[in-house]
Symmetry: C2
Subunit: 148 residues, 2 copies
């Protein structure tokens, strides 16, 4: 039996299939202030985050890139959430406020959690849910989480 | 008008809502060899990836954590793909082979892409699509992508 090496531990890109590339680019670039060198005219937009890149690509193009049969209507929740963890309780409120000012929708107001933290959820323009959370994890200097 | 600071550029966690926590943990831990200190008995499993953590959590619990109305049947494609980019063309074949040996489903055999790269897709046990790709991007020493 051939030994297969473990896969290197990383997610390189999180790609969101979006309805309106210009609208979503405005939300993430101008609304949340995430860094990008692209514009919607490029047909695909990357945000250089620490560790993992966020990609915006038209939903139909992304679905067709996978395989036939994936360009189907999305249900309200596709099963994946993204989380943005912060260093202080106050930052949860600040990031949620930024998201709402940018046109995001509040799904769950920030509140104390069962695991001793503080968190809330917003939806981006396509309804993709982001949790903004404080607590439970330590953050390294570069902002990445330390699982203990 | 109060100035709101840009959100720090990171995705802390990608959380997958899974049907069978033990099955998915086996797939990612034993099948792909991703590092974790958790077991399905903990009720939630984190994989310490570089930069962004991968979380497995029962679908219903994840949906309920967001807000009422999110515990709905998933459509075949929820609009989000994850990508694992590698340094060589050969590694695409190797990672796809590992995923299939681990019980993943091949969605798209590795092939030359329109953007001059080489890539394929597999689905994890819940059908979440991962692209395995080479080309277009440079990889930093730690494996993270460099957008140019």
């Amino acid at each position: 039996m051939t030994e297969v090496n473990p896969v290197e531990p990383r997610i390189s890109i999180v790609a969101l299939g979006v309805e309106d590339l210009a609208r979503s680019t405005r939300f993430y670039a101008e609304g949340l202030g995430l860094p990008t060198t692209r514009s919607p005219e490029d047909g695909i937009v990357f945000f250089q985050l620490r560790g993992t890149i966020l990609e915006l690509f038209p939903f139909r193009s992304l679905a067709e890139d996978i395989a036939p049969g994936f360009d189907v209507p999305r249900s309200r929740f596709g099963g994946i959430t993204l989380a943005h963890n912060v260093r202080t309780r106050e930052e949860v409120d600040e990031v949620l406020a930024s998201a709402l000012r940018a046109g995001g929708e509040l799904l769950k107001p920030a509140q104390d959690t069962s695991w001793g933290g503080y968190s809330g959820y917003f939806a981006d323009p396509d309804g993709y849910p982001w949790e903004v959370a404080w607590g439970a994890f330590e953050l390294a200097e570069d902002g990445s989480l330390v699982v203990t």
